[in-house]
């Protein structure tokens, strides 16, 4: 059997198994014919438990770090054998893939132990805060959400500096392979590089092709299209199905994410060039007017949801579309988790209703764009007691080879390197089913052309996860008058806080 044929066959067998169309016994038989032992499947009670089986791990024999990299790891990592590295990270696909499936290869090759603490986002912030404030060096590597880049910029090494140490540099690491917009949007703060882009959840349009076809609606290419289509669906199918969904939980970071998409999409920005809040200008009010109309077409309760509720509403067929994190796309294609497997289509975010502002017209490095990105970077802490070992791990974790493995194992998250989008292992998963990568071309396109990035300033954590979403939450709960009144009040608060810090 030719290798590519075997691979395709294996993919389809695994997919049938995953979809529940094939029982376990037949799957194992088929898999063994295709050259996979049960051991490779991680059966039974061993160290690698049963959950390891997925579409991806069935191809495990191929899903291993390249020999070349393993060789480099064991050469360069030898002196550090026995040390332990710690990383606190949000529970994201890359971190989970590394923690559960990939770090063993690193540990075996280097003898360096890696402990990964997986936490919800706000708890990661708490951990890093304590670590930084006390300069304790509990964690060797920091997972830095783009909204914290400014806060932690002085606490981590600039990877460009680290690369200068030839002894520890990974061959072909190629820092220029990282998507340029991501480096600018996530990692850069002023002239420092706060780690390298590690993870890139980004807003893309995800919609029900079948519903759109049924109602003969044009694909949501513009914001107006989206509103019209959504209203049409809600009219036709409500209350069983609504046109679109949102993540609008009051006081939660996710509400701020949604806001920026509409704000930027109407030619607005959070800050003006003078560094003052400008979300209450005409463009900002137009965005709110649009948002109000759009919200009327969303399922009631959308203002209680974070991305979880939003994703579930689409996955369970309650909402027909969402402009939200692309990471959800593989989840929608998973027949066990959602009711819309194979029915979803991804496309780049809608065209803005007005010209986007340029970076020069905004403040604090804010980059307007409907495709809101929520990326994060990985960096070595300055307080680490083993910065060299940590740097080795970081290069490995963000190398093209590892990222390709992450993308396949971690369920189709967006890679941060150009080359990974073209990796054959990644391409092989571009079919309907759990862990699909068929939306990645759209992600790549969005990153390149439609991405929006939040501003970088030390007060941003407080603004984005408290002040803004609380004010917006008040507005939608009807506690603070008109949109103009609400945003005017918000402006006073924001400008106050920014002035103070």
């Amino acid at each position: 059997m030719k290798d590519s044929i075997r691979k395709a066959h294996l993919a389809s067998v695994t997919d049938r198994f995953v979809r529940g169309q094939m029982d376990r016994r037949s799957f194992l038989r088929a898999a063994s014919i295709l050259g996979l032992g049960a051991g490779a499947l991680g059966m039974g009670l061993g160290r690698r438990p049963f959950y390891g089986i997925s579409q991806a791990s069935a191809q495990e024999q191929e899903l291993k770090p390249s020999a070349e990299i393993t060789k480099w790891l064991s050469d360069v990592g030898k002196p550090f054998a026995g040390t332990t590295l710690r990383l606190a990270t949000e529970s994201t696909p890359p971190s989970n893939a590394i923690a559960t499936q990939l770090k063993q290869y690193f540990e075996e090759a280097t003898g360096i132990k890696v402990e990964i603490e997986v936490l919800p986002l706000e708890q990661v912030l708490q951990k890093l805060t304590l670590d930084v404030a006390s300069s304790l060096g509990t964690y060797d590597l920091y997972y830095i959400d783009q909204s914290w880049a400014a806060s932690f910029s002085q606490d981590v090494f600039d990877p460009r500096e680290q690369l200068k140490n030839a002894d520890l540099a990974m061959p072909n690491y190629n820092i220029d392979d990282f998507l340029k917009p991501l480096v600018d949007g996530i990692a850069m703060y002023e002239d420092r590089m706060v780690g390298v882009p590690y993870d890139i959840p980004i807003f893309i349009t995800q919609y029900r092709k079948d519903i759109w076809d049924e109602l003969k609606l044009p694909p949501p290419a513009t914001l107006e299209d989206l509103l019209q289509a959504s209203a049409a669906i809600t009219d036709a199918k409500g209350p069983n199905m609504y046109g679109t969904s949102g993540q609008m939980k009051s006081g939660h970071y996710s509400l701020e994410c949604d806001w920026t998409a509409w704000l930027w999409g109407h030619g607005g920005s959070i800050f003006g060039a003078d560094g003052k809040f400008s979300g209450n200008d005409d463009a900002g009010l137009a965005a709110m007017a649009y948002w109000d109309k759009l919200k009327a077409t969303m399922p009631p309760g959308v203002d209680g949801w974070t991305w979880d509720g939003e994703g579930q509403s689409v996955g369970q067929g309650v909402a027909a579309s969402m402009l939200s994190w692309g990471e959800f796309f593989p989840f929608f294609d998973d027949p066990n988790a959602s009711k819309v497997s194979g029915l979803m289509e991804a496309m780049v975010p809608p065209k803005p209703a007005a010209t986007l502002r340029t970076v020069e017209q905004t403040g604090f490095g804010e980059i307007p764009g409907v495709g809101h990105q929520g990326g994060s970077s990985l960096a070595v802490s300055k307080y680490s007691k083993n910065p060299d070992a940590a740097w080795i791990f970081m290069q490995w974790a963000t190398s093209a080879d590892t990222q390709a493995l992450i993308t396949v194992l971690g369920g189709g998250t967006g890679p941060t390197r150009t080359s990974v989008y073209d990796d054959p292992r990644v391409l092989a998963n571009a079919r309907v089913g759990a862990g699909t990568t068929r939306h990645l071309p759209v992600v790549r396109d969005t990153i390149a052309n439609y991405m929006g990035s939040e501003p970088d300033l030390p007060a941003w954590a407080e603004l984005s996860s408290d002040m803004i979403p609380v004010a917006l939450g008040k507005y939608f709960a009807g506690q603070s008058g008109t949109a103009k009144e609400s945003l005017d009040a918000l402006k006073t608060q924001v400008d106050d806080l920014v002035a103070k810090s």
Binding site: E122, S250, G251, P300, G301, S313, P458, P469
Partner: protein, 295 residues
């Protein structure tokens, strides 16, 4: 019996060795944090310099002018009062109901305690799921009997969000009250009841004139312990509403947590914590005074 209890020995070995472990652990673990927090409340973390710097009374002045603080104080009080009232009354009623040696009652008491062993953070998630406007079973039930407008999700509507959180709180902690009250009820001597029944008292009279007074110490302890925890409510609001919608369910503890951990305002967070402590101290002491709790 009471006289004998009031009469303590004179010949007693020194209490110090008995109290030493307690005193030691409390000193290290509570007095130090207290002093640290007082110190901290006159400082603030300056992110640029990665250092705590002296700011005088700035934090306290800020607190005084902070509408968010006053708002969360009112919300915390409301939460505290409503939850305590419900848990007390429901707890007592259920304790009376379950105070029976009849068949199956032991089993029922055991089942009831199960609510207590689930971490509050998980309970918050449970209720978040059950109160989901689209998929939640509680929302569904209320909507189908017409008590809830589908357009007003429980947790995202300002007027009902607090109630939505309180349901989780009361569900989890009423059994705690039941447990303590049952212990108290079971320890009551039977004679006064027998006497009262012969006197022809009604069940309600028996409860008011005999059970309640005899249970007063147990009730006082329950109110104190639960009241203190209620005033520090964090998990439920954190998980279920993030303090929203707007600031409708923002509790003092949530505010202090956020200032401390999310925004690295350690000084202000410490100030908030100290105020919370002082308020609890005042209320608890008033209560001890009024209820004449004797240790």
């Amino acid at each position: 019996m009471r006289v004998a209890q009031a009469r303590r020995f004179v010949i007693s070995d020194h209490p110090l060795p008995w109290l030493l472990p307690l005193v030691a652990i409390l000193l290290v673990f509570t007095v130090y944090p207290l002093i640290y927090n007082i110190w901290l409340s006159f400082h603030e973390f300056v992110p640029r310099r990665r250092a705590l710097e002296f700011v005088g009374t700035e934090n306290w002045v800020q607190l005084w002018n902070d509408t968010r603080f006053w708002q969360s104080l009112v919300i915390t009080f409301t939460y505290f009062a409503i939850a305590l009232a419900f848990e007390l009354v429901l707890g007592m009623a259920i304790a009376l109901l379950l105070d029976s040696d009849g068949f199956g009652f032991g089993f029922l008491r055991g089942v009831l305690t199960m609510t207590l062993v689930i971490p509050p953070a998980i309970v918050g998630m449970m209720y978040l799921l059950m109160e989901d406007p689209q998929f939640g079973v509680i929302s569904y039930l209320l909507q189908s009997i017409g008590l809830l407008n589908p357009n007003n999700p429980i947790l995202a509507t300002a007027s009902t969000a607090l109630a939505g959180v309180l349901v989780a709180e009361i569900w989890q902690w009423t059994p705690f009250m039941v447990l303590i009250f049952l212990a108290g009820l079971r320890a009551l001597p039977p004679e006064p009841y027998e006497a009262a029944m012969i006197d022809g008292a009604s069940s309600f009279q028996i409860f008011r004139r005999i059970t309640l007074p005899m249970m007063s110490k147990v009730i006082a302890i329950a109110v104190l312990v639960r009241g203190i925890d209620l005033f520090r409510v964090f998990d439920y609001v954190f998980v279920m509403t993030s303090g929203g919608p707007g600031a409708a369910t923002y509790s003092l503890s949530l505010y202090a947590w956020q200032q401390t951990f999310s925004f690295v305002k350690w000084g202000y967070g410490a100030t908030l914590s100290l105020v919370t402590l002082v308020i609890i101290l005042v209320i608890a002491n008033l209560f001890i005074r009024i209820a004449k709790v004797k240790w």
